[in-house]
């Protein structure tokens, strides 16, 4: 009886929208099974956390009031007075951090399994932009509760932009909405966080997912070398989807535990006239860059140290983004080796400098 009703709806939709591509995907898409299959799930977890972000973000929007005199108070109201407000705010903060964490894992797993290579160059590039946007979400969202730590961290963060030659000062003014971090900065960070970034992120995410579905799962070279008989696959539906769901539930359990046992502190309200508190730190995913810039001397040659640092990170970021298009050597093996070492160096550098920031 029920199946007949579903069938009826399906037929109704099929008649109008031709559901064969979706049917094909469900019926025919296969996922390779091998030693590195676990990495296939990282993108899905990032997507799940993004969905939590959207859901909790929308709920927070119902009570959050941007503004110097209202932002902090409204967040305080959310976590103390609104039913389950504490849960939603903590879920939003924790899932944001976990999302960036899983995007990083997803990116490095794609990198080390060589999945970014032809024909998935654009999937890699869109993914890279999604990471940058996620970091943008983090940076803009950090300021929104308008608390002391976030205020001064934003001040330091936006100050760094000023060292970019020629356009640095103008960039800083554009970012801050004036010379200093004020209510105007809060307004534009709010705008960025809830409108501008979500619009671009969602568009890029759709493109990214479209590429993934269109090209299917990447198969590692060792897997490709196997004979057809040796290759093992599982159907995308329902096997892979169910496994994905299982992992999502596990992530949700971790997320709920973090939310309850390690609530995100609100701290003191930002006061522009107060002296900067001890322990101003950026979000952990900016820490490796922050630490690097701190270590650089005031001047390298005749250029400002921080400017050199930012220039180096920009170049490194560009190389990282364009790595599917770069051939370091004509010999494929050597090229793979160089790329692998670049990856290892980048990963170790980021881990080491992040740890250093917290020591």
């Amino acid at each position: 009886m029920k199946n007949k009703k579903i069938e009826k709806v399906e037929n109704w939709l099929d008649e109008r929208y031709d559901l064969s591509p979706i049917r094909n995907l469900i019926q025919h898409k296969k996922v390779p099974v091998h030693g590195h299959s676990i990495w296939y799930y990282m993108g899905g977890i990032s997507l799940f956390l993004f969905m939590i972000q959207v859901f909790t973000g929308l709920l927070l929007l119902m009570y959050y009031i941007p503004g110097e005199d209202s932002a902090y108070e409204s967040v305080q109201f959310i976590i103390t007075k609104v039913d389950f407000g504490w849960l939603i705010r903590n879920l939003h903060s924790w899932s944001a951090n976990l999302m960036v964490f899983f995007i990083f894992i997803h990116m490095f797993s794609v990198f080390f399994t060589n999945s970014f290579r032809k024909p998935r160059e654009l999937t890699w590039v869109t993914g890279f932009f999604l990471l940058l946007l996620a970091m943008g979400f983090g940076f803009s969202g950090y300021l929104l509760p308008w608390n002391e730590l976030a205020f001064f961290a934003t001040k330091v963060g936006t100050d760094i932009v000023a060292v970019v030659p020629f356009i640095g000062d103008s960039l800083k003014v554009i970012l801050r909405g004036g010379e200093d971090v004020t209510g105007a900065t809060l307004s534009r960070f709010f705008g960025l966080h809830v409108a501008f970034l979500p619009a671009i992120f969602t568009t890029l995410l759709v493109i990214h997912l479209f590429f993934v579905q269109r090209q299917g799962m990447s198969e590692p070279e060792e897997f490709e070398k196997l004979t057809e008989d040796q290759k093992k696959y599982i159907p995308f539906f329902p096997n892979f989807v169910l496994q994905d769901a299982l992992l999502w539930i596990i992530v949700l359990i971790v997320l709920l535990s973090l939310t309850l046992f390690f609530p995100w502190e609100l701290g003191l309200k930002a006061d522009a006239l107060a002296s900067a508190p001890i322990g101003i730190k950026p979000e952990w995913y900016f820490m490796f860059m922050f630490e690097t810039l701190k270590l650089l001397p005031a001047n390298i040659w005749f250029i400002e140290g921080e400017a050199v640092g930012i220039f180096a990170f920009t170049i490194a970021g560009l190389i990282w983004m364009l790595i599917p298009f770069i051939n370091f050597s004509k010999k494929k093996d050597l090229n793979n080796k160089i790329v692998r070492w670049i990856g290892i160096f980048s990963l170790l550098y980021m881990i080491a400098f992040t740890i250093k920031g917290y020591l």
Binding site: Q76, I79, L246, I249, I250, I253, L256, S257
Partner: protein, 418 residues
């Protein structure tokens, strides 16, 4: 060159010129520390400089040399002529003459205004109203005059931490005479005032905590017009800082009764030099009670003291338990913002209740204590809610995790069976 740059350069030149001009002016001014005249030269040469002479002395610093006070001609090299009566030499004044000696300048407003526009010039007239001054007039040479407190040739402004009249040093300055039992016994006076004071709440604040806002001897007894406060003036003396207590007391029925019975207002309960930090036991009917010094069991005052003490104790213990609970809520990671806000109000109620004791009106005290007690109950209820919420959250978490684990197990089983 644009207008802005031109303006900047002009401003710089102007500022530079102003600084240079100021520097020249400053250099041209006579520096007292290098000031020389024949008095100084001769006294140094013969090694007969006055006792305790210091170049930090405020008069020396302001260019007033020996002749400024002692007369004579400071430019005359001949000793006889320099210190001759014809040259206005007055020499070392007798103790009895010292107030007028200093008053030559210090009572002259026109003279003193040159140094400080708001400087008082009534020290000498105040002094003669003081017990010290009155006794000096009678020829008593034991009393303090200007130099006993301010020194002779090492006089520093009262704001200087080295000065004998700096707030923290004043008890010691007074103690030089008032701590001398031999001298005081001649006049039937105690010599333990400063010893007592240093153990008092005021003395501890001033001498141990170095809180210069705390009263020293002069803040209650006056400076130059120092005298023991009378019965009526005591509440005014204490009330110059404890304003509310004074107003409540003066408007109470007890003010007249105390005065009629020759009982000293504040001193009767709090003491004079050895004033301890107040506590609620003082208003009780127990051993530390001050009320039972006059009231006995069964009379109205005794009953009032019992009732007030009971209420204060209740509010005080409620305040303490609310504070503990608020801390507990905070440690639990729950919201204690409103509880903390209530705590501030409860504390205020407690302070106000204790102050209102000076009205000797139980209804006024109870109005405030009841306000605090109600606020405490409210805050404790808030704390209870937060603690309950803390456990509810854990319960909710447990249920949610149980369902999620069940779901995960089902999924796992389903995946295995595929």
């Amino acid at each position: 060159m644009d207008k802005k740059n031109l303006l900047n350069i002009c401003s710089f030149i102007f500022l530079f010129s102003a600084i240079s001009l100021f520097a020249v002016t400053s250099n041209d001014a006579p520096k007292s520390s290098t000031y020389e005249d024949e008095c100084i030269n001769c006294h140094i040469e013969n090694d007969i400089m006055p006792e305790h002479f210091s170049k930090s002395d405020i008069h020396w610093q302001n260019g007033l040399s020996c002749a400024g006070c002692h007369g004579g001609n400071p430019n005359e090299t001949d000793e006889e002529k320099a210190m001759s009566i014809s040259n206005g030499y007055v020499g070392v004044p007798d103790k009895k003459e010292i107030p007028q000696f200093c008053g030559k300048c210090h009572s002259d407003l026109e003279e003193m205004q040159l140094f400080q526009p708001r400087i008082p010039t009534d020290q000498v007239s105040q002094y003669y109203v003081s017990t010290h001054g009155k006794q000096l007039k009678l020829g008593n040479m034991d009393v303090a005059t200007c130099t006993d407190c301010h020194t002779t040739h090492d006089i520093l402004p009262a704001s200087d931490t080295r000065s004998t009249t700096y707030a923290i040093n004043i008890p010691n300055t007074c103690d030089n005479c008032h701590g001398n039992s031999e001298l005081m016994s001649k006049y039937n006076l105690e010599s333990i005032q400063v010893a007592e004071y240093s153990k008092s709440v005021h003395g501890i604040a001033l001498l141990e905590k170095l809180d210069v806002g705390a009263p020293a001897c002069n803040d209650c007894h006056g400076n130059h017009g120092a005298s023991p406060p009378g019965v009526i003036s005591i509440s005014h003396v204490c009330g110059s800082c404890h304003v509310n207590n004074m107003n409540y007391f003066n408007n109470s029925t007890k003010a007249v009764e105390f005065s009629d019975m020759d009982i000293k207002g504040c001193e009767q309960c709090h003491g004079k030099h050895l004033i301890h930090k107040t506590n609620d036991e003082m208003i009780s009917v127990g051993e530390a009670s001050t009320c039972t010094e006059c009231h006995s069991e069964g009379d109205d005052g005794y009953i009032a003291a019992e009732l007030i003490y009971g209420k204060l104790k209740k509010l005080s213990s409620l305040y303490d338990s609310t504070k503990v609970v608020s801390e507990k809520v905070n440690i639990m990671g729950m919201n204690n913002i409103e509880i903390e806000y209530s705590l501030k109000n409860i504390r205020q109620n407690l302070i106000q209740s204790r102050t209102l004791i000076h009205t000797f009106d139980t209804s006024q005290v109870f109005e405030k204590t009841n306000e605090g007690i109600l606020a405490s109950y409210g805050a404790l209820k808030l704390a209870d809610n937060e603690i309950a919420e803390y456990f509810n959250r854990r319960l909710g978490y447990g249920v949610a995790i149980f369902i999620l684990i069940l779901l995960a197990a089902t999924l796992y089983w389903k995946i295995r069976s595929l």
